[in-house]
């Protein structure tokens, strides 16, 4: 594997990790909101 490919792999892994982190954060907020809505709505 060339240094250029290695750098590209690291770059991809980093951007995917950031997006995954953001999605997980969004899911935490969503599940919290769903829980509040369910409790408040008496579902």
């Amino acid at each position: 594997m060339t240094p250029d490919e290695n750098r590209q792999i690291r770059s991809r892994q980093k951007s995917r990790a950031i997006v995954t982190g953001l999605l997980l954060g969004a899911l935490v907020i969503l599940f919290y909101a769903i829980t509040i809505a369910k409790i408040g709505g008496g579902h």
């Binding site: 792999i9 951007s15 995917r16 809505a37 369910k38 709505g41």
Partner: protein, 306 residues
Amino acid sequence: MASSPIRAGQSAPTIPAHWRDFVALTKPRVMTLVVFTGLCGLLAAPGHIHPILGFTAILCIALGAGAAATLNQWYEADIDGKMKRTANRPIPAGRMDRQSALHFGVGLSFFSVLLMGVATNWLAAAVLTVSILFYVFVYTIWLKPRTAQNIVIGGAAGAFPPVIGWAAVTGDISALPIALFMLIFFWTPPHFWSLALFVKTDYAAAGIPMLPVVSGEVATRRQIWFYTAIMGVSAMAPVVLQLTGPIYGAVALVGTAFFVVFAFQVLRHRESDPVRMGPEKRLFKYSVFYLFLLFGAVVVDRWMFI
């Protein structure tokens, strides 16, 4: 590396796919109509749903559609590579290995269904499951490569969103969501075949038995006209059955009249050169607008008169 196309059996790319390619697998542009019809089903339903839960239901419909689109591209990667329109998709273009797409599609399917069940109800989750399975197994794997009538039955997969949206609110399925299902079901053939008329060469190159390839253009034009007639009846059914009021009735009548005129122009047109297929392109574009128009009218009508 990322620029070399791959085929089934070849080694997977060593460089991980970009996250944008996972988004591309879900076909976000096609999702617009699915999300809109699902939202209309949700808004037209009697009763109340908490905005957060309503948002989650629409999110699940979108994710389910994205999962089905992903699994479709996982299965059809070889075919996609033969068509100009689809050759640059992540798998045939060599930017992603097939297994990643499969894992992503299956994971997204389970997630969307489970989230729908937890947030709304399990009937909505069950219908979402059926729509994903129908699209992947009945349409993509079974019908599409075998019969020229593939999109007639397969089109049912795209007709589920308003039913899911409705079920998310009410927990049941009544006459109006079924009428909306039938409208999309019979709208699909003229919508897709008008497209297939002017991208016929692409489907032929990939060996997909689209109607214009198998039965010819004249037969396709007749079939478009035939299904437009049934779609027109389906569009007026909610009015006749008094499921909707005068706003939907007026919009459906005028909107369908234009559809019929455009479909008639396609029926009479005799042109094989895709460049000169004006009526076919017009019908395809109008069909998208028509569905937005009628579903929007259903919501306005239900809010004002029911």
